[in-house]
Subunit: 199 residues, 2 copies
C-alpha cells in the first residue's frame, strides 16, 4: 500500500533531520526525498517546523509507552522482567528516530522534550511498583526497590543508547542476547543467588 503525501513528507523530514539536524535539513531536500514538489510541504504543514511537529504528534499518539503492567504479569521475576524489557525496548526502538532527534534538537521542540524526558521516570516508577508487589508476595527477599529500579533503568537506557549510537559495538547486541545475559544477571542479583556461570 502506498503512503499518503503527508506520510512521505513526514518520513523524509524525520530521516533528514536525524541525519543533518533541523537547520541542516533543507526544505528542498526534504521535498526531493519525499518525491514531492517543495510547495507541497508548505501547503500541508505551513512551515518547516510544522512538519516535524506533525511527526511528533503522529508518532506519540500512535503508541504510548506505558507498559500494561496489570495484564500479562505472572509474578515470576525472570518471566516478567524479560517480558517488560522486551516490550520496553521494542517500543523505544519504534520511537528511536524521535528520541535521537530530541537529543539532537534539545530545546527546539518542547513538546517532544517533555514526552521523551518523562519516559525514564515512568519506567522507573512502574518497575518500583512491580518490585514492591513481588516483595509483598514473598516471591523475592526484600531489597531497596528504588535503588534496584534505578539500576534497572540505567541498564536498559545504557543498552539502548550504546546500541543506537555506537554501531561498532552493536555487532552482538541483539535484544535476545541482552535479555538472556545482561538482564538475567541483574535478576540473579535480586534473588540473592549465586551469580551466573563462568562459562
Amino acid at each position: 500500500m502506498t503512503q499518503s503525501t503527508q506520510d512521505r513528507i513526514i518520513n523524509a523530514a524525520i530521516e533528514l533531520v536525524k541525519e543533518k539536524g533541523f537547520v541542516g535539513a533543507t526544505t528542498r531536500e526534504i521535498a526531493k526525498r519525499a518525491q514531492v514538489n517543495e510547495v507541497t510541504l508548505f501547503r500541508h504543514f505551513g512551515n518547516k517546523k510544522g512538519i516535524i511537529e506533525a511527526a511528533i504528534e503522529k508518532l506519540s499518539f500512535v503508541n504510548s509507552l506505558s507498559v500494561s503492567l496489570s495484564e500479562d504479569v505472572v509474578w515470576d521475576l525472570t518471566k516478567d522482567l524479560s517480558m517488560i524489557v522486551k516490550i520496553y525496548q521494542t517500543k523505544l526502538e519504534e520511537k528511536r528516530d524521535l528520541i535521537l532527534i530530541s537529543f539532537k534538537e534539545a530545546g527546539r521542540f518542547p513538546e517532544l522534550d517533555q514526552m521523551i524526558s518523562g519516559l525514564p521516570m515512568k519506567y522507573k516508577e512502574m518497575i518500583m511498583d512491580y518490585f514492591q508487589t513481588m516483595i509483598q508476595k514473598g516471591k523475592v527477599p526484600p531489597f531497596n526497590v528504588e535503588i534496584a529500579a534505578t539500576n534497572f533503568l540505567f541498564l536498559n537506557f545504557g543498552y539502548f543508547m550504546l546500541k543506537s549510537r555506537l554501531n561498532p559495538l552493536a555487532e552482538d547486541m541483539s535484544l535476545d542476547k541482552f535479555i538472556n545475559q545482561n538482564v538475567a544477571q541483574f535478576i540473579d542479583s535480586l534473588q540473592g543467588e549465586p551469580s551466573i556461570n563462568s562459562d
Copy 2:
C-alpha cells in the same frame, strides 16, 4: 588569568554548537560570544569547521580517558570500583560537551566519532581485565566477566546519559550517590552476598 583569543573562540564555538548544532551556530554569533571580530575566526581557523576541529584536537589530547589501572588499585572490590567509577565519570564530565556534540553531529567529525565510540569498548575491556585478576586472586567467586563488565558499562553509560540530558531527573543524581547506592548494589551482586538493605 585571561583566556587567549583562540581559547575564547573555541569555547564559544563549543557552547553554540552544543546548543544549536553545527549548522545552526553562525560564525557571527560565535564571534559575538567570544567578544571577537568575526574575521578573527577565519584568520585563526580558516573556516567554521576548523574551529571545532581545533577544539577536538585540544580537548582530546589534554586528557585521554585511559584509566590507569596498574596504579592505585588495591584489589578491594568496593574501593577499586568506586575509584574507577569516580575517575571515569569525572573524565566523561570533562568531555561532556564533545560527547554531546558527537551525538548531535554524528558523521560530521569522523575523528571525534572514532574517539568517542572507542571509549566504551576500552572501558569494558579494562573492567574485564580487572575482574579476571580479582577472580584469579580469589578475592571474588568466579563469574562471567564479560557479562558483568557489559552490565557495568551499561550502568555507567546509562547514568551518564540520563544525567546529562534529562535534567528533571537529575536533581538527586550526584556522583557520590550513584557510587554509594547504585554501584554498591552492583558490587554486592558480584560478591554473592545478600542485597542492600531495604531502608
